[in-house]
Symmetry: C2
């Protein structure tokens, strides 16, 4: 039987202005985790959340994470954990979000003050953190409040985990989640994370996969110090010459990874999977618009989505130690470090990729016959994640989307990584669902970040509706 | 008949402390041409020179060069031109030097205050500008003074041209020299520049050749803005991938330029030239010491000197627009500009090199089949210069070296460019001699710049002796 949601939805509409006001208060706190001097604001934001949650009757704890690694004078902001409801007859859903934000300065090019929520006549609510991730986090609080004011029984026990360091590597969070999986989070039946985006602007989606990322450095060094090319050009091995030639063996213009063996690690495409791509609401024009150019690798939508979601890619990010300023400098850099990363997919194991990369780079450098020195190493790696979209957590969310938005959601994967997803899956052993609120044009991490009023208000309805459907959905473990 | 120089030499020794004191006063003026806020110091240094020259009885003019291009609020420092002697029966020698210096801060790693001349117990005189180029410039003034005090007739008419913008591209100087070639400089019979260094530390040299430099940029662009490799990796052509592959076609690890046709432009080696290299005071250990490593391209001295002096070389300097900081950033840069330069030698014409470079880069990019855009252009070019070391200007200088230092000088070329050399040659049509005062360990442009007391005092003797020999040397136009 479909849940009774009309009075909840109506209450959300009634409270819309007060929910926007709650977001306005949150955006006004510049909780920038990357900036040491804003650490008190990050803490303030955590306390704001805790206070709002307590006012709603939730049990709240502010959990310290200790000192920040490599910055021992800085205390990490607390993880805000909360529980709303303790009915053993109800399912328990664990939700995650983050209350810190990316840096933002008006002079970066913002049209409005980044820490003042500015709503334009099309209902676009501009402000740093509006869509990433304060809107979604407050969505859960707003859903609780609307249930209370509508007098509708809350359908699940809700566990909440809101961190304050997501935009700076989620320092300390993995250990915390692993520790609490069998404590504070032990009752969780499923996990839901709202911290990603629709593929486009019109059609909601549920996300069941993410690529991993293995980030490498190649350092080539020779001379004891930077040299003048007039004096030394033509007499010494130049590290930059070698680096360019080694990096030129990694990937071709068509995006093919040239490291032998890498492509053999990729799980083959099944007919089942292949059939999924055609129906996704995505066009080549969507790609061109977000690229800002027509320089796509593929002519068709299906192959483009596969390129983003289910095939690995290799990007060369830059060179440290070489001349990088405008103008002309006739330097022979003494030590250069090339940076590249591989986006990984099933079934690529991190260690297997490392081995192939090291073997290839060592071989490519040896082939040069240079007297310079070369080192290659992994800077960091995060594994890919794929969940089953047939799990009751996903099917319930699909029904909620259809109820709120009137369409079946696209089942999507993403090209980037959200490492906490895999952490929650592995620590709790439960299914994790990514349920986005914002759209592809929200410009998270860029200037003029926004969240559309429609996505916020309907998104609050969706989070509530999801909890009703997931409370009723028959168990399966697909 | 060899000139009578003993009383002049003796007088230089007598005045040694006062000459060092003159250098101390000059070093104390931080005439840094690259720093706007030091412009008054540059002007002050020019006025110091003018005042010293007037005290010696020279006719002096401070010539304005107008506003600094792209910095219209800044007046360029004046060119100090001077004439000492107007005897029509004597030869007229035009000398050039510069009174501005490179930037220097104690905290860059100087062992002493950079603008305080500090003489250690080995006679090393540390201070910014000591060797580049205040020591040599004052050398000419000191030579005049020692002649006066010794009562020795000055052997030539001396024209002087001292500029204050050499370390910042000699802004405005070319036009000035071209203008004055038939005016203030019209009587010049030969030109002498003291602004370079011995090849080593023990043996003086005369320099008769310089390589040129053609500096290129390759810009590759595609997306409208920087992209996240998670979202776009595997779906779009990446400018950095293309740039690395194009730059990889320019030069190999052994230093061979791979641009077709470039090496065909190089003047063939004659037996005569070949025989010069063996006798040069230079060892592979000299190279390794200055490199700070043993990563030389060649095992022998001769080929190494040829690599520096008479063959072209290609260096890749860096990339603008890509990620260049420490750490890891998963960016796909939207627009990257690779910088490289070619050191040019006889008979490479600038336009011919440009054409070969453009053709090759265009072809290499086209071969990639990329949808990105590519542009290649010349940032700046300076031509190589080679003079005849058999000209009377050089043979006279050779005799002066032998008289002062007791050895025949090495005849050397240099790998870098001193653009004013070619300007003087072309504007005056006269032979130009490079007559260095300092040695290879002087660290011009680096921290702890110094000039050895011995090189300064014997150098003053050499400049005077050179003027005596050049006054008497039979005319030839070899
Ligand atoms: Zn986020
Ligand atoms: Zn974010
Ligand atoms: Zn100089
Ligand atoms: Zn200099």
């Amino acid at each position: 039987m479909a849940p009774q949601l009309d009075s909840y939805f109506k209450q959300v509409d009634t409270l819309a202005e007060s929910f926007i006001d709650r977001l306005r208060k949150a955006v006004a706190i510049p909780s920038i985790s990357a900036a040491d001097e804003h650490r008190p604001d990050v803490v303030k934001m955590g306390e704001f959340l805790a206070s709002e949650l307590r006012n709603l009757g939730a049990h709240v704890e502010l959990r310290p994470l200790g000192k920040q690694p490599h910055k021992e004078h800085l205390e990490l902001p607390p993880v805000v954990v909360a529980r709303y409801g303790e009915d053993p007859k109800k399912r328990t859903i664990l939700v995650y979000g983050h209350y810190d934000v990316q840096p933002a300065l008006k002079e970066d090019g913002w049209a409005t003050e980044p820490f003042t929520l500015s709503v334009d006549d099309k209902g676009r609510m501009y402000g740093r953190g509006s869509t990433d991730d304060k809107g979604p986090v407050l969505g859960w609080l707003n859903a609780i409040e609307a249930h209370q004011k509508a007098g509708v029984d809350f359908p699940v026990n809700l566990l909440m985990c809101f961190e304050g360091m997501e935009e700076y590597g989620s320092e300390g969070l993995d250990d915390f989640i692993n520790e609490e999986a069998k404590k504070f989070f032990k009752d969780a039946d499923a996990v839901c994370i709202s911290d990603n985006y629709w593929l486009g602007t019109e059609k909601p989606c549920l996300t069941y996969g993410l690529r991993g990322c293995s980030y490498y450095s190649i350092e080539i060094s020779g001379p004891g110090q930077d040299l003048h090319s007039g004096v030394f050009g033509g007499t010494a091995h130049e590290p930059m010459t070698d680096l360019v030639r080694v990096m030129g063996t990694l990937v071709d213009t068509a995006g093919n990874i040239l490291i032998p063996g890498i492509n053999d690690l990729v799980a083959p495409m099944t007919d089942d999977e292949k059939s999924l791509y055609g129906g996704i609401a995505f066009t080549m024009d969507n790609l061109y618009e977000s690229l800002g150019s027509k320089t796509g690798l593929f002519a068709d939508k299906e192959r483009t989505l596969m390129g983003r979601w289910r095939y690995p890619s290799l990007s060369i990010h830059g060179v440290e130690g070489a001349f990088s300023a405008p103008g002309a400098k006739t330097v022979i850099p003494a030590k250069v470090v090339g940076k590249f990363s591989i986006r990984t997919v099933p079934d690529m194991e991190i260690e297997d990729v490392d081995k192939l990369v090291y073997d290839h780079v060592n071989k490519a450098f040896a082939a040069l016959g240079s007297k310079n020195n070369m080192k290659v190493w992994l800077q960091h790696a995060g594994k890919w994640w794929v969940a089953s979209p047939k799990h009751w957590n996903f099917t319930a969310a699909g029904k909620a989307v259809e109820r709120v938005w009137g369409v079946k959601p696209d089942l999507t994967r993403e090209g980037g990584s959200i490492p906490v997803t895999l952490t929650f899956e592995q620590a709790t052993g439960k299914n994790v669902l990514l349920l986005p609120m914002g759209s592809s044009t929200d410009a998270a991490h860029s200037i003029n970040e926004k969240l559309d009023k429609r996505n916020y208000i309907e998104g609050i309805k969706l989070l509530g509706a999801y909890l009703h459907y997931v409370a009723e959905e028959p168990t399966n473990e697909a």
